[in-house]
Symmetry: C2
Subunit: 232 residues, 2 copies
Amino acid sequence: MRESDIPAIRSLELFREMADESFAELVRGAYVQNFPPNMDLILEGDQCDFLHIVIDGTVELFANWSDRETAMTILRGGATFILAAAIRDAPNLMSARTLERSRIIMLPAEDVRLVFEKDHAFARAVVMELAYCYRGVIKGVKGLKLRTSIERLANYLLKSQKKFGGASEFSLPVEKRRLASILGMTPENLSRSIKSLRPYGVEIAGQVVKITKPDDLKTLAKPTSLIDDPRS
Amino acid sequence: MRESDIPAIRSLELFREMADESFAELVRGAYVQNFPPNMDLILEGDQCDFLHIVIDGTVELFANWSDRETAMTILRGGATFILAAAIRDAPNLMSARTLERSRIIMLPAEDVRLVFEKDHAFARAVVMELAYCYRGVIKGVKGLKLRTSIERLANYLLKSQKKFGGASEFSLPVEKRRLASILGMTPENLSRSIKSLRPYGVEIAGQVVKITKPDDLKTLAKPTSLIDDPRS
DNA sequence: CGTCCTTTTGAACATTGTCAAACACTGTGG
DNA sequence: CCACAGTGTTTGACAATGTTCAAAAGGACG
């Protein structure tokens, strides 16, 4: 790995508070690598040898069963993946692939477990991160089980809008067919759901989203911090 | 709390390895309480003051949104709940109620965070437990998104059978309408799904399940350790 | 310019949910 | 012990939601 990567890594929440010595130990065995788009990184069921962290780019976590596939989540800079598997030394429950050209850190899972034992600050950061991920998945399940697909889409749009600073026009950060899978529907169904949001001031042309009646959309979406707030 | 509770608590995985001193500190502020059935324990959105652990009985975690409700999971002896919220000092994402008369430990969340800082063995146990819960939820999402309701039911039955030592006849440990909610369907739909499993050797009368053609059922259910194995 | 992939559209179909009513089970109080 | 209320379960008819398949339209890229 390059020397120049180190400051960026160190400034990630997971590593920010830990002792220099422990950080050095972690970094010693680490790889940093660039991957092209659409590259498989890990395979569901494989043993988990490395904790992965996205520095730059986009990674999709997905899962398969019986010839079906579903997108579980999409990760961008700063996100960790397969932390739980690395900690428990258990097989991965999800596969991962890059969607764009991506830069990724790989920390040997064994080093992670070792440093976890020694360094309190790191242990705390790991627990915080894991609890954060857990809560993220719980929110996802609540959305899936309590909302219709149109409601999920409406809330997704409002959340995206917030991420883009509340602008009334922004660009979808994901392909529609992946978005459909994330939201738990087929691409065809997403296409129709988008149309059915038109009376609520949603216009989507290509990747460009325009929300002209945010209050109407919110009335339909009924967002709540207990499902839709990524922090909290 | 009673002195007589202490050995049972100590033997839980979460506390087994920790120092006597730390354990004493945790137990000092703890409550142990019996609750009648159908008692609300915590409410979604509330601040999380106590880590809860089920000693005996049954607890349902559930969530609400917009006049709808869904069962998230059902917990029995030994299970912790709202660990993630306690660790992060964040609002609960789920509500909890007893289903049967239940005995429950409540540890002040602040004590948990304090002892986590001091005691390595406890910190490790917390991370392990959290990673375990995380993986459990991920498996749940995979089931929801990759399987039809009949497939979920089939796998649920096979899992239950395994829990009962593989007996061809056993008794449902949950009310059907709750099971329906756990599996992500309506009670009516569960009732019909049960019928549609009859050709696969499933007979359910009241709470009594009989599985006469396990191989046929498995062919339909296609269970996999990456979704259906509670450990791993 | 053509090829490949995504997106959209339409029509048929399958699955799941809703509503209303009947039925079964449980526990209570007469 | 029985009648009864209350709750959970099942059934039927129907509506809503979501999927599948096929085909056309639109974009990206060599």
